[in-house]
Symmetry: C3
């Protein structure tokens, strides 16, 4: 639905708000660019001058040290100037509207806003009102989207599996509260993955799950059977309201990924998790730290993917 | 009163604490320098090396994301290293005196302190005690002064009107609680503006208003009539104590700047506001977003003016 | 006990966790390197490119603006990229373990962690689990160690006294709660100081004081008599529990360093204090601001010492 907002007239990327509607061409361009940045992190001097003299504003309307840090590192490796704004405590409390805040920050001649907001759609609203030379990256809005997380997941799969064309991928856990699952499903489908499964108890599935074009499984044992990739979701304790679940222990018993359950997947399966992990709830330490886990690789790739997005948007 | 503290023996600027007492020569030098920085923001690489290797400490004893951000951007465009210190939560809480804190920060070989403090005069106190090579910039102290805001207002007027010599300027609203109004009036007068008006209800005028050398108006209709420049002040809700005003609605009715009232001014009037705006209280959206508004230009010019001040103080 | 963890197989420094067990060779190398950086701070452009392109993460699990600032300045003078993480408010609150947090930050390809933690041993735990290319610097852990503070004290003594070989040094005050005193004593002894005294009331001495190899004095008058160096400790008000002391006034009477008491030391004595000072409690203003005080020099030297440690650990 936001394809128009995200792409320039010539089809190049203008904002990154959601993976929904992004063509495979753009997704592949981002993954290819990220691949070229992997080597930067292995050099003595981990910097390239692609964003030298550009001003990146991290606009965090809700705190997220981890996400803010990955964007800050990516921006600094591109030689940008980074300004961190924790906005909850600032102008908003003086009664200024979001759009006035954004208009002001635009007028400070920012080149890019990296936006985190508790309200779904806030980055889209901002993108619709910024000056033409300013790019907006969604770093997580409400329950809606977190596209760079989705992209780093795609990058991780491609690095470990080569391509998407013969893969069976399971997305497991709290899909109802996940910002990422929906983006992942769209991206996997767009990139040619033939079988995407969602695996969760009925209480943690969104009501419109049937419209996503995925196979729905209500048991781990069938859900991850013969999968090439298992993407575990974080159990969003802090977002749960009411009694969707009996207890963390019981959740772990039925839905936690253990070495035993993982043996049902393919022998070369990779296990992913967006972090932070709840060990002993959605994932067992034997899996988290085991040979199939690529969870820390995801973090490393996340820097390269964010560098790719930023340099494609605003590179000199 | 602080002219001595602000100027070196050779008449050059050493600290910027207040616009009071600054000669027209210095004001004009700052505005001219700022003009040379306007183009920097329009380049691909928005950086000049004037403060390379210099350490700028943002000492914010009270939070102000907006002001801190503008100084941080200005410093980074000059290639300085910026260290942000939110001091309320730090050494002060361990019982250290302000002057010990400042002596310590001086000993870390800072080149400049940008100081924001709730107590009037704090930046002056600091300026009096720093080592000779350290420069102090007042980024707002109590109700007293906020000189870079005053300067960016002067810059805005000069950019849009060419000079000050034939202008009729109205400063409208909460003069009692404004850090800026007094500086503006002094600067306007010093730069040769022939007619400065203050326009406010009696309860929002400082008691010594007669000593400022301005025309006092108690009604918008006469106050802004035939003006070239209307400077709206923010209604400092959070600073009001007691019943100075009946209600925001009533304030808006009598003192809010609407398109209707603005028609009383000159056809080419410009409207300014320091932000953040209270739309529907001191200013109507039709004016804030209208063709006479230069409010967002002020923000842009604010970066150039702060670059000018910093580079004049500590430039290589 | 941590010598192995701190040194590489070839005897060079890998982590700086504590001064305990560090050989004189390493201590002297750090002090010599720091000396070479003193001149950097006096240049117009206070930067050297030794850590260009390196990512230094300031991991502050407890806040300390002063310490964080000194490391940030040191890192920026070495041209590193600095990322500040205030971790108390972040992932830890989402139930992630310390080691998962650290594994994640490692995966972001940090080159160095500067760690401040309320729990003794936390930096050691982290050092034991980071990837081989990552260096850990302890910026203060619990009551345990604060090695760069100890090093800057040694540097200060060497700058003012030339060598350690004929010195009588008194460490005075709250040794029980000091992170630094133990490091200082070890370093002084290792560097050849023939007489180290600790001077404190019995209630502020650690129980194992006899094992430190120092002379214990229970009165200021005998304790600082004929000393070349007097190191005052901060009275850790905020750490005191229960009634170890009668009152600040009484403490000052017996244990506060006044000009009168200082006359018992050598005429060329230097007085040190780690800051922030409690004037009128452990130190009189006449001493703090007097000719024997090198307290602000310590702060300046602290930047050079931290630059030395960082460049020895991770320099290009």
């Amino acid at each position: 639905m936001n394809g128009d907002l995200q792409l320039n007239a010539d089809g190049s990327l203008r904002h990154l708000l959601t993976l929904d509607g992004l063509p495979a061409r753009i997704l592949t361009q981002i993954l290819d660019t990220a691949e070229s940045f992997i080597s930067v992190a292995q050099r003595e001097v981990k910097k390239v001058p692609l964003l030298r003299g550009k001003a990146i504003f991290n606009l965090f309307f809700e705190p997220s040290t981890r996400t803010r840090t990955t964007f800050e590192i990516a921006a600094k490796r591109l030689s940008a100037d980074v300004v961190n704004l924790n906005i909850a405590s600032s102008a908003q409390s003086k009664g200024e509207t979001l759009l006035d805040t954004v208009a002001n920050l635009s007028a400070m001649q920012a080149d890019m806003f990296v936006v985190r907001h508790a309200a779904s759609g806030a980055p889209h609203l901002i993108a619709r009102h910024v000056a033409p030379h300013i790019h907006v990256v969604n770093a997580g809005d409400g329950r809606c989207a977190h596209p760079t997380q989705g992209l780093l997941d795609m990058f991780t799969i491609r690095q470990h599996k080569g391509s998407f064309h013969n893969l069976r991928v399971a997305v497991v856990g709290d899909l109802l509260h996940s910002r990422v699952a929906r983006s992942q499903i769209h991206a996997l489908t767009t990139l040619g993955c033939p079988e995407v499964r969602v695996v969760a108890p009925r209480t943690l599935l969104p009501r419109d799950v049937d419209s996503l074009g995925v196979h729905v499984h209500y048991r781990m044992e069938t859900g991850i059977k013969d999968c090439d990739v298992v993407i575990m979701l974080r159990l969003q304790n802090e977002r749960m309201q009411g009694a969707l679940l009996p207890s963390p222990q019981e959740y772990f018993k039925y839905w936690g990924l253990t070495p035993d359950k993982l043996r049902l997947a393919r022998p070369d399966v990779i296990v992913m998790h967006p972090g932070p992990m709840n060990r002993g709830v959605e994932i067992d330490s034997g899996v988290a730290d085991g040979v199939h886990s690529v969870i820390l690789n995801q973090v490393t790739y996340g820097i390269a993917v964010r560098m790719a997005v930023m340099s494609l948007l605003a590179g000199n």
